[in-house]
Symmetry: C2
Subunit: 338 residues, 2 copies
């Protein structure tokens, strides 16, 4: 992937805007299809961070990740002719399985373009949900051209992984539920990959509690949101290098403005801190999270666990909500067994 391709993809993206009302409508639309996931607390973690930490467990969501919310919100809005033509996307990760499952629920075919180096476990999930995999070269160009070819040949509707109003509105329902479940939150944290979850989180959290502190978390090796905010303009992620496989993507045309305007702060974590946080979470909660969700935890531990540390507003939050984005891990290749 190079800079021109990324910027070109942004220019071609759907520029329709997305509002809080869309998140509300999405929540109604998808209610009977999704799990209302539980919120987990862990005394040992809250003690270590120094405030109450609430985890919104989207790892227990159908397909094992929040991605199912956006996928099913998109598929549910297709008409009969569109459903008959099927859907298509390109993804090496959780969006692939989520879309395959959502499509199956509506009786639609799902064409999933996956890079040839995608993990076997993600491919197996897509197959299990009845998705039709087309392998391609592991480049953004190849992924996009294969998806475009399938669109042309089958008439399938493209459901992109994050930069689409229906997808963003669907992802926002996770924060919507969390704010209902824990109204006392004074900070909400989500990981930033393409920015779909973060954008939806901004929509829900800012509307329901205008004064809440909205924080993104990124791996040090894929810090395009951090760099873009610092520069005041979009800077694509060219050579991501991080264990957090869900967070290697660049922001999109729809998601960047949310990061720019609504996210109060982007925290960073290096891979070593992320892996430690992931293991700590597994040991203490007995719940499996993938590396991408350990990034916010690692960042929060680093930021607040040292005695007397303050955030950039000079205040330590009391009740932090963290969206646990997924639990799809290859158990044969855990990051700490290397």
């Amino acid at each position: 992937m190079n800079r021109d391709t990324v910027l070109n993809e942004m220019t071609n993206a759907n520029s329709v805007s997305v509002q809080f009302a869309d998140v509300r409508h999405a929540a109604e639309r998808i209610r009977s299809f999704v799990h209302r996931t539980p919120v987990l607390t862990c005394a040992a973690i809250s003690e270590r961070v120094g405030c109450n930490v609430f985890f919104k467990c989207e790892n227990f969501q159908k397909s094992g990740a929040f991605k199912f919310r956006g996928a099913v919100n998109s598929v549910a809005q297709l008409n009969e002719a569109e459903l008959a033509s099927g859907v298509v996307t390109h993804s090496s990760g959780n969006h692939a399985g989520a879309l395959a499952l959502a499509a199956r629920m509506f009786g639609a075919k799902a064409h999933i373009v996956m890079p040839s180096n995608s993990s076997e476990i993600k491919k197996a999930a897509v197959r299990e949900y009845g998705g039709l995999i087309t392998e391609c070269e592991p480049t953004l160009e190849s992924r996009m051209s294969e998806a475009a070819r399938i669109q042309r040949e089958t008439g399938a509707v493209l459901i992109p992984p994050f930069d689409h109003p229906h997808v963003i509105a669907g992802q926002g329902t996770a924060a919507l539920e969390l704010m209902e479940q824990v109204p006392e939150l004074d900070m909400i944290v989500a990981p930033i990959g393409g920015g779909g979850l973060m954008s939806g989180t901004c929509l829900a959290a800012r509307e329901l509690k205008p004064g809440i502190r909205i924080v993104g978390a990124e791996p040090l090796g894929a810090d395009d949101a951090f760099q873009s905010k610092k520069a005041g303009k979009f800077i694509p992620q060219l050579s991501p290098d991080t264990v957090a496989d869900g967070l290697r993507t660049s922001l999109g045309q729809l998601t960047w403005p949310f990061i720019r305007d609504e996210v109060d702060e982007v925290l960073l974590a290096d891979d070593s801190a992320t892996i430690s946080a992931m293991k700590f979470f597994w040991e203490r909660t007995k719940v499996i999270i993938e590396p991408s969700c350990a990034v916010p935890l690692a960042a929060i531990i680093q930021r607040f666990s040292e005695a007397g540390s303050k955030n950039s507003l000079g205040e330590t939050p009391r009740d932090i909500g963290i969206i646990i984005s997924g639990g799809n891990v290859d158990l044969q290749a855990l990051p700490w067994s290397n």
Copy 2:
């Protein structure tokens, strides 16, 4: 350990009986100290087994295992003088951490005799809960003589890992809660190590639903309950060989009669099936269980998942409850990474 030592230990065990009323009293006594753990279901697992499977998640219990119920029920019944003298036990596993935590809650010292080859993670848990570790040779003789020495020298009260009425009554509260949470169960399954959990389960389940099918599960490499039931007399476990580290123990004097008289059937699983079931559970539920709790799941999958299979009563159960005994796993040494 040899046969004479085991039989000798049995003869010396406390022969006071334990009744359902003791389980009820234990539940009231420990209510404010324990978690009322959730019951988890997983569509993929129920589908594979062919009936509704309900998991009672004692891996989310304090100290990460059901053992905390028996430990805190025992410590809560000590008088002030006894608490001042402290408690002592010998254990390489979850009882060690559970007793250390229970003792700390009551301000008592906990002396824990642990074999020198105990896992680092179990030792770390005991230390974290403030337990005082005495290492000994990895033999039952050495464990018992060290514990006896500490009893003599400190006056500490021995809280054995399973063969004690207060411990059995405490463990029975897990099944008591499960029967309240899922009244429709027609089968309840627990793993059998020393038999404390199984005995308490028999007390609770048989009283609340006399016709329920009570099933134990054992590893093929530590099948003393299966062999004892078959022979109609207690046969000690001399050379256990199984990945299920919590289930290597022989039954006790108090627990054997429950296995003999109340357990309808003991199912066996070999280590390979246990490891597969454990991994399947992790992948599908995103919840961490230790090998000992995968034994019942493996046994149930083997027994019922083949189309048309029946249990020995000629009936397939509809609603099976399985007690997930703990989630304390050394993440650096998972059984499938070898």
